[in-house]
């Protein structure tokens, strides 16, 4: 760049460079007094602005034993070092590494780089909880399968009255494991993408029809009336028809499971501004207010034993939420215990039916 002036390498320039680094940088002199700390370092260590003074001992601005230990180790040994694990500083987690530096000809000081890993730690906790949940969900059907197989091997095979019943129980739990694996795979695929795998024009009604057909038998068996309400004929969205159908299936499956015989489940579509809204309403048992904000979480169940007894994986609504999200949409719920629930999925709507037709 001819004409552009090269900035001079003055202390002010260096300070400006350090200030724009995202990592915290902290330098101490051989006596352990702070020579320099950039903005991120003060933020990470939770030092209030204006209270930092150069020349103060490190301990005063940062009373964190592992950090002090790291710095004094570097000063003593004159070798680079890092903390083996992130350390808690206030409500954050900090990873630190440092190295000695020699200013002038005297003893060496230490420069330490601080990285805020709070977010990583938090994700790690979420992951650990998830793994714990999954292993519990797997153990439960596995415990039944193992137990009943052994019982049959130990003589129950000859007990005709019970043997058949035990095989049915084993079959049910194998089905439960299969559903769980399917749902986990579905969920991990959804989490790995930000956009639906295919983007085609999907007329919601064309997705709802087969879905209602799929559950007609289950509803009839239970004595629940299942119907699609008229209206919203031309409403379309852009996205993946299979995924949207899966979302409708999951909502219908839940609605029928939790609606006693004689009840009613309906599906309808509405246009609300620029959004298409899909509603699944039931006259079922409803969801207590305290559970409502959490039902879309993975493995959250209002009634654990009841959910499992009905073959639920605890992932159905989480999948619905993720399907809505990859389409740029959202989910919602209104429910009154003993009266019923309305689950809604809002998706960005394509232009009105007429406009789309004339556009072709």
């Amino acid at each position: 760049m001819p004409g552009a002036q090269k900035p001079p390498r003055t202390p002010a320039t260096l300070e400006a460079i350090l200030a724009s680094v995202t990592e915290g940088v902290l330098a101490v002199d051989p006596r352990g007094e702070v020579l320099l700390a950039n903005g991120p370092a003060l933020r990470i260590l939770g030092v209030p602005a204006g209270t930092f003074g150069e020349g103060k001992p490190l301990r005063e601005i940062c009373p964190v034993a592992p950090l002090e230990g790291l710095v004094s180790g570097i000063l003593r040994d004159g070798k680079a070092a890092e903390l083996p694990d992130p350390v808690p500083v206030g409500d954050r987690f900090v990873q630190a590494s440092g190295a000695p530096f020699r200013a002038g000809g005297g003893a060496s000081g230490a420069v330490v780089v601080l990285t805020d890993v709070t977010r990583v730690k938090r994700l790690e906790t979420v992951r650990k909880d998830f793994v714990a949940n999954v292993s519990h969900e797997i153990r439960t059907p596995l415990a039944a399968i193992r137990g009943y197989v052994e019982t049959l091997q130990d003589g129950a095979l000859g007990d005709a009255a019970n043997a058949e019943r035990f095989l049915k129980i084993i079959e049910k739990h194998v089905g439960q494991l299969t559903n769980l694996v399917d749902d986990l795979l579905q969920l991990s695929r959804l989490e790995a993408t930000e956009a639906p795998p295919t983007r085609e024009r999907v007329v919601l009604r064309a997705v709802i029809e087969p879905s209602v057909g799929t559950f007609a038998e289950a509803a009839r068996k239970k004595g629940v009336s299942l119907e699609r309400l008229p209206g919203g004929e031309g409403i379309a969205v852009q996205g993946d028809a299979h995924l949207i159908e899966r979302a409708v299936n999951n909502l219908l499956d839940n609605a029928i499971k939790y609606t006693p015989g004689g009840g009613r489940v309906t599906v309808e579509t509405r246009r609300e501004g620029g959004e298409a809204r899909l509603l699944v309403s039931d006259t079922g048992i409803g969801i207590p207010a305290e559970d409502q904000p959490r039902v879309f979480e993975r493995f959250y169940r209002v009634d654990k034993s009841r959910s499992r007894e009905m073959g639920g994986t605890g992932l159905g609504l989480a999948i619905v939420k993720h399907i809505a999200q990859v389409h740029g949409g959202r989910v919602g719920l209104t429910s009154t215990p003993g009266v019923g629930s309305v689950f809604s999925v809002w998706l960005p709507a394509l232009g009105s039916g007429i406009a789309t037709v004339s556009g072709r």
Partner: protein, 226 residues
């Protein structure tokens, strides 16, 4: 023998009831904590098999309530847990459970554990609180003396009490906190490693018999069953 089995999963209840029944035991079942406590109070079972994950009142709370009520304070409890998490096991033992089985379990194993715990409970009830003889180890609380093959050992007061507690219920797992409380009295400062140090020293003094004190990884210690 009358057993109370507590689990919220009907298939688990059915499985345990069927197998225990075939092993010649009578079985009562309860699907939640409140029902379990009511049944335990009125029917006084010989043992309770208790799942930790229960809706409403959880297994730990049931365990504590059983221990607190005078009718059931001595009833043996075996916990069932789907979580192989050591913290749950420790919490359960400290709430008063005698043993634990993790899911998925083998019904054969559960029956074996039930029989062991019942036998242990019977033996504890019979023997007067006094001298313990465990193969060639003899522990005499009155004279505060321990001998191995007749040879007296020089144990500290803490080591002696740890050994006495462990040897008084062979096969039963004690957590470090329980051992500390037993050895030093309740409210002792809970420093996990203190117990480890005493146990290491105790094992050394017991010589070849030191292996009778087994480490249960992540949980605590037990005296090996003969």
């Amino acid at each position: 023998m009358l057993l109370l089995v507590v689990d919220d999963d009907p298939d688990m209840l059915g499985l345990l009831a069927y197998n225990l029944g075939r092993a010649g035991m009578s079985v009562l079942t309860a699907s939640d904590g409140e029902k379990a406590l009511a049944l335990a109070r009125t029917r006084k079972p010989d043992l309770v098999l208790l799942d930790l994950m229960l809706p409403g009142m959880d297994g730990i709370a049931v365990c504590r309530a059983l221990r607190k009520a005078s009718e059931t304070s001595g009833t043996p409890i075996i916990m069932l847990t789907a979580r192989a998490d050591e913290n749950d096991v420790v919490e359960g033992l400290e709430a008063g459970a005698d043993d634990y089985v993790t899911k998925p379990f083998s019904p054969r194993e559960v029956i074996a554990r039930v029989k062991t715990v019942l036998r242990r409970a019977g033996a504890a009830a019979r023997s007067p609180s006094g001298r313990l003889v465990r193969e060639d180890v003899e522990i005499d609380p009155e004279r505060h003396q321990t001998t191995v093959r007749g040879k007296p050992l020089d144990l500290t007061a803490t080591e002696f009490r740890l050994l006495y507690v462990l040897a008084s219920r062979p096969g039963r797992v004690f957590t470090r906190n329980q051992l500390l409380a037993e050895a030093r009295g309740p409210g002792a400062a809970a420093e996990d490693r203190t117990v480890d140090v005493h146990v290491a020293s105790l094992r050394r003094k017991l010589g070849a018999r030191g292996e009778a004190i087994e480490t249960v990884r992540g949980v605590g210690y037990r005296f090996r069953e003969e």
